[in-house]
Symmetry: C2
Subunit: 156 residues, 2 copies
DNA sequence: CCCGTGTCGTTCAACTTTCTACTACACTGG
DNA sequence: CCAGTGTAGTAGAAAGTTGAACGACACGGG
C-alpha cells in the first residue's frame, strides 16, 4: 500500500491544542526574557547563556565547540557571539594547550561581574513569567517532558 | 530594609534543573524542526507558521498585525517575512476594505499547496521529536504549563 | 613517517531580524 | 470639522545568524 495523504498520522485535536500552547508559550517567554535582559542589563539572552555556562565551568573556561553544543548553537554562531563579547571585555579567548586546534573561552572578572549584576533581574523574570505561575509539580512535569526531546544527532 | 543580594529569590536546585531541561529541550526541538522543514520543503519554520495561520483563517486572510501578534513576532518582522513570501508567490497582500491603514495577507493557492505538501513531514517531525515520546498526560501537562506564561503586555 | 580522514574554529557572503523613524489613516473630544 | 493622539504597516540601516568553504591541527593505519 502506498503512502498517501490519508496515511499521515496527524495530531489529535487535543495534541494540537497542547502543541500550540507550547509554541505560543515559548515564544512569549523568550520574548519577555530577552526584553528584560536587554533593557535592564544590555545583554542578549544568548550572551547571558554563554556567561552562565562559563561561570559554572572549571576555571570559567570552555572550549568553543563545547559551548556550542551546550547552547545548541552552530559553531559559527558561537564564534560571532564570543567575538562580540570579547570586544566588550566580557570574555577572553586563549589557545588551548592540549589541542592545537582548540580555543578556550574564558569568562573575565568583568564578565563575571556583569553576570552577577544581571542574574537577579533575569531570575525574577523567569519566576514572574513562568516558575511562580506553576506548582512545583507542573514545573517538574514541564522539565521532564522537555527532557524527552531527542538530542539532535546531526547538528551543524 | 534595602534590597540586597541575599534577598534575591533564586530558583531552588530542582527548579533550576527543570528550567535547564526546558531551555535545552526547546532549543533542540526548534533546531530539529527548522532543519527538517528547510531540508524537506525549503521553508523556514516561521514561514510555515505564517501559512498555518493563514490557512485556518476566514478566506485564508489575516491582517498583518493580527498575524504578528499571533506569531509573537514584531510587526516589522512580519512585514519582511510576508514580503519574501510574496516574492515567492506563497502569499498576496491586499488593501483592507474596512480600514484604510490595513493590509490583508492572503494565502495563495500555491501557498496552500506548499503547505499541504510540507505538513506531513513537519507533523512527523513533531511526533518523532516530542509528541510520540510523551504520554498524553505528559503532553497535556506540557501544554497547560506553557499556557501559564504571561501574555507579554508591552510587545513591540 | 606520512597519508587519508576528521575535528576545531574562523571567514565571508547571503539572509533574517531588530530598531527607529516615518507616512497614512482612524478615532475622540472639543 | 479639525487638533491631538494612537494604530497599521513599511523602509532602511544596523546587528545577528546561517551555511559553505577553508586552513590548521589531530589521529589511526599502513
Amino acid at each position: 500500500m502506498s503512502v498517501t495523504e490519508t496515511d499521515v498520522r496527524w495530531l489529535t485535536a487535543e495534541q494540537q491544542q497542547w502543541w500550540r500552547s507550547y509554541l505560543q508559550g515559548t515564544a512569549r517567554l523568550t520574548e519577555a526574557l530577552s526584553r528584560q535582559l536587554e533593557t535592564d542589563s544590555g545583554l542578549s539572552l544568548n550572551e547571558y547563556e554563554v556567561m552562565v555556562r562559563l561561570s559554572e565551568a572549571e576555571g570559567r573556561t570552555m572550549r568553543m565547540a563545547e559551548l556550542a553544543s551546550s547552547l545548541v548553537h552552530s559553531r559559527s554562531r558561537v564564534t560571532h557571539t564570543v567575538a562580540r563579547m570579547e570586544r566588550r571585555g566580557l570574555v577572553e579567548r586563549r589557545a588551548c594547550a592540549s589541542d592545537g586546534r582548540g580555543i578556550n573561552a574564558v569568562l573575565t572578572d568583568q564578565g563575571m561581574a556583569a553576570l552577577v549584576e544581571a542574574a537577579p533581574g533575569h531570575v525574577r523574570a523567569v519566576r514572574e513569567h513562568l516558575v511562580d505561575r506553576l506548582t512545583d509539580d507542573q514545573m517538574r512535569a514541564l522539565g521532564e517532558a522537555m527532557q524527552h526531546v531527542a538530542p539532535d544527532v546531526d547538528a551543524v
